[in-house]
């Protein structure tokens, strides 16, 4: 099980379990859980297409400690859950950093198709998931808010093809995001809105990964993209806003290693870099996780 940290939006870090983006399933009654730490930072960002830095922010960093678990209801049906705590900080300027519990997220992952094609194995996964904010954190405080405070519901399809020890996995995800309520009672997007409700754009995300996958080691290259089909651009020298269009393309690499002894212990790690974006920070991110997996078998 691997963890990928991706930067969603102007900064809020989203913990993305690779287990919800990979081609791997837990066995029936198998559980895998543990903490992850991630660090993401940027000094440059895009206001619309205009790339800049900001001496009044310096380097904006986000740290996250997440606790994540995955459980096999059957070997074809898994559930995944995630509990993150997030800190933000700006190295320059005067803005006050934030910290708190972000959004609890969960997935149901189902493997409807697994069949041999040629010399390899093709698997198709379908997932449904969602997230809810865990605290009344402030969303309208970008780039230092810890999240966007929207409730989300997502659908995802994953295709995975394994040939010997080499694999390729691709996925597409659509995420519905609920309106959010902010502390202000009026705000400007491309026009003035006299309400404290904010209509949030939905989100497309795509993930492509390929590499080496054996019994106790996975090494892979990862490319991902997120695109908000709606939303609006940050104007020059304006503040970011939760309903901005936030697009990003990231490349990175990850690994998972499972120890033979002690049995059940595994570590994950990796990093990624934002190569292109719109209304997001150009982040560099690293993550590291330690997990333990065991069987919950019913007493006989």
């Amino acid at each position: 099980m691997l963890i990928v940290v991706s930067l969603v939006g102007m900064l809020p870090l989203k913990l993305k379990a690779q287990t919800d983006e990979d081609g791997i399933m837990m066995n029936k009654n198998q559980i895998c859980a543990g903490p992850t730490y991630s660090y993401s930072s940027w000094s440059h960002y895009w206001e619309g297409a205009f790339k800049r830095n900001n001496q009044n922010l310096g380097t904006v960093s986000t740290q996250m400690i997440g606790f994540m678990g995955i459980y096999g209801i059957t070997k074809k049906l898994n559930i995944v859950g995630n509990l993150p705590y997030v800190w933000t900080n700006a190295s320059a300027g005067t803005l006050h950093g934030q910290h708190g519990f972000q959004d609890l997220s969960g997935w149901v992952k189902w493997l409807p198709v697994r069949q041999n094609i040629g010399k390899g194995v093709l698997s198709v996964f379908t997932l449904a998931g969602g997230s809810v904010p865990l605290s009344n954190y402030i969303a309208d405080y970008l780039p230092l808010s810890i999240g966007l405070h929207s409730r989300t519901a997502s659908g995802r399809v994953i295709l995975d093809y394994q040939l010997g020890h080499f694999f390729t996995t691709g996925s597409a995800t659509y995420t519905l995001r609920s309106d959010i309520t902010i502390d202000r009672n009026a705000y400007y997007t491309t026009a003035l809105h006299t309400t404290n409700r904010v209509d949030m754009p939905d989100l497309w995300s795509f993930n492509f990964r390929t590499g080496y996958r054996a019994n106790n080691l996975i090494i892979e290259a990862v490319a991902s993209n997120m695109t908000t089909p709606g939303g609006f651009d940050i104007r020059k020298n304006d503040m970011p806003f939760p309903s901005n269009k936030m697009n990003a393309t990231m490349v990175g690499a990850h690994f998972k290693y499972e120890f033979n002894s002690p049995k059940g212990l595994l570590i994950t790690g990796g990093g990624n870099y934002t190569v292109a974006g719109r209304n997001v920070g150009q982040s560099t991110a690293f993550d590291f996780g330690v997990f333990y997996q065991l069987y919950f078998s019913k007493k006989k």
Binding site: L95, H96, W110, T126, A128, S178, D183, Y188, V198, D199
Partner: protein
């Protein structure tokens, strides 16, 4: 398995169903039905005009004349083929012209409230009114600019509607649906004479004011004017001749305000580098630590000579008389204590403190604190069904007070040139951007208490609520870490004093 997929799909459908369409608070108002037409408003005290008939309005054609019949036929033509879009525009404008133009002004303030991005060499470009479309766009509608812009538009709308009411009363031309019962009154009926059209007066005066205030928006606002005028005619509220006379009168009266605006010193408020350095020298000569910009690169102070702008209520001697005593010396123990208090307040802010900070921040990209008080006023006025002329009068009182609050506040800020808390102690992190001008006294406190004083006079049963809001707005600046408590205490007193100047005018303007 299939059941699980259905269940997952169910979650998504539920989540999307919960996602209600976001709509503005004033999106769905009924037509304005004034409880009192204020037929005597032609005699109310004017702001700049010397007489309500300073600009002549031609005697309207008789309602039996062929010209008027042609006017009615135009209305009937629209009403025979009303599109859904037109019905929506009729509904929108029927809620009230002062309200809608005030909302449009707030939209413009937010749109233009962006500080210019720096040049490559760390200096900052200044917006140029002669070339409003070049970056940085003109204007940068920061709080003093916005306060003045709201006041000019509201003052001009008020004078124009007083003149409008004067002529309505003189000519007493009935509304089209009164003359011809086959015409539908799609925006409500009233006994108010329809010539000149008050809606068109508002459109004309506001569109014309764009030439001074938002020269990059003349075309956009012209389209709003046409939309409103068409809605007035198609709804049966006014004829083409009512509208034409109204727009012309509005534009003429706006010219008087524009001429004043070109010579009210606002154009010089940005100052020169000599002026900026002089504040430092003068403050140091007093033995005080001078303010400096906490932005990087350091930005020149915001409109440092705005204190010399000519207000509508207070003359320059009155502005000087409004100055409070000095803040504690920057080297005094009291200032150290104030700074420590500011640090302790911001160290571990509560969520409620953050809410208050964000609610009142009204910073970059917003309609500014005077705009926030316009929004508060407008939403309260809606429920009171004022006539358009009373709406305009109340908004003018509010916005003339806000403009003078800006003038007085900027006079005080640059007279004392006092540092922000973070300049005195860099450990003080803030919950909103630090405004780029001196600390003493708090602009939010002045704007808010001036507004609360005026609004509390207009709606006495809400006076306590307005004062509580103003106090929360003042506190928000302390919670944010950008003001000392003394800045807000002093700002409250001066703000109330400015508000009372407007209240004294209100008591004798003929409307009470």
């Amino acid at each position: 398995m299939r059941r699980i997929l259905f269940w997952a799909l169910g979650i998504m459908i539920t989540a999307s169903a919960c996602d209600k369409k976001v709509s503005d608070r004033t999106a769905d108002l009924p037509p304005l039905q004034p409880v009192n037409q204020d037929l005597n408003a032609g005699s109310w005290k004017l702001v700049l005009l010397s007489r309500p008939d300073s600009f002549a309005v031609a005697v309207p054609a008789a309602t039996t004349s062929p010209l008027y019949v042609a006017d009615l036929n135009e209305i009937k033509g629209y009403q025979a083929h009303l599109s859904g879009d037109m019905q929506g525009k009729i509904k929108y404008w029927s809620a009230g012209g002062v309200l809608r133009w005030n909302e449009i002004m707030r939209d413009l303030m937010a749109k233009y409230n962006l500080p210019p991005y720096q040049n490559a060499d760390g200096t900052y470009p200044a917006p140029n009114p002669a070339n409003p479309f070049a970056y940085p766009l003109f204007p940068f509608s920061n709080p003093p600019y916005a306060a003045r812009a709201y006041a000019y538009v509201s003052g001009a709308q008020y004078d124009a509607l007083v003149a409008c009411w004067y002529y309505k009363n003189q000519f007493k031309r009935p509304a089209p649906y009164t003359v011809d019962p086959t015409i539908n009154a799609l925006a409500g009926k009233s006994t108010l004479p329809s010539y000149p059209s008050e809606g068109a007066v508002l459109a004309g005066v506001t569109a014309e004011m764009m030439k001074l205030l938002f020269p990059g928006e003349i075309a956009n606002i012209q389209q709003k004017l046409q939309e409103q005028e068409l809605a007035l005619i198609a709804s049966g509220t006014a004829t083409r001749s009512d509208v034409t006379a109204g727009e012309t009168l509005g534009r003429q009266i706006a010219e008087v305000f524009i001429a004043r605006g070109r010579t009210d010193n606002a154009g010089k408020a940005i100052g020169t580098s000599t002026d900026w350095n002089n504040f430092v020298t003068v403050t140091q000569a007093k033995g005080e630590a001078p303010w400096y910009s906490l932005e990087a690169p350091k930005r020149p102070p915001q409109l440092p000579l705005f204190g010399k702008v000519k207000g509508f209520l207070c003359d320059s001697a009155a502005i000087v008389a409004l100055r409070p005593g000095p803040p504690p010396s920057t080297s005094s123990d009291q200032m150290k204590q104030e700074t420590l208090d500011a640090y302790n307040t911001i160290k571990n802010p509560s969520r409620e403190q953050m809410r208050i900070v964000q609610f009142w921040a009204d910073g970059v990209g917003t309609y500014t604190p005077p705009g926030h008080w316009n929004a508060i006023a407008a939403e309260d006025f809606v429920a009171r069904n004022y006539s358009e002329v009373r709406w305009a009068r109340n908004m003018a009182l509010l916005n003339m007070a806000e403009m003078d609050a800006a003038i007085s506040c900027w006079d005080i800020k640059y007279y004392y040139f006092n540092p922000r808390p973070t300049q005195m102690d860099p450990r003080i992190k803030t919950l909103t951007g630090i405004p780029n001008f001196p600390s003493y006294v708090s602009g939010h406190s002045m704007f808010s208490f001036a507004a609360a004083t005026v609004l509390g006079h207009i709606i006495p049963e809400r006076a306590g609520a307005y004062n509580a809001m103003a106090q929360e707005a003042a506190n928000s600046r302390v919670y944010a870490g950008i003001h000392y408590a003394i800045d807000c205490d002093a700002g409250r007193t001066v703000g109330q004093n400015v508000g009372n100047v407007a209240v004294n005018r209100a008591k004798i303007d003929g409307a009470e």
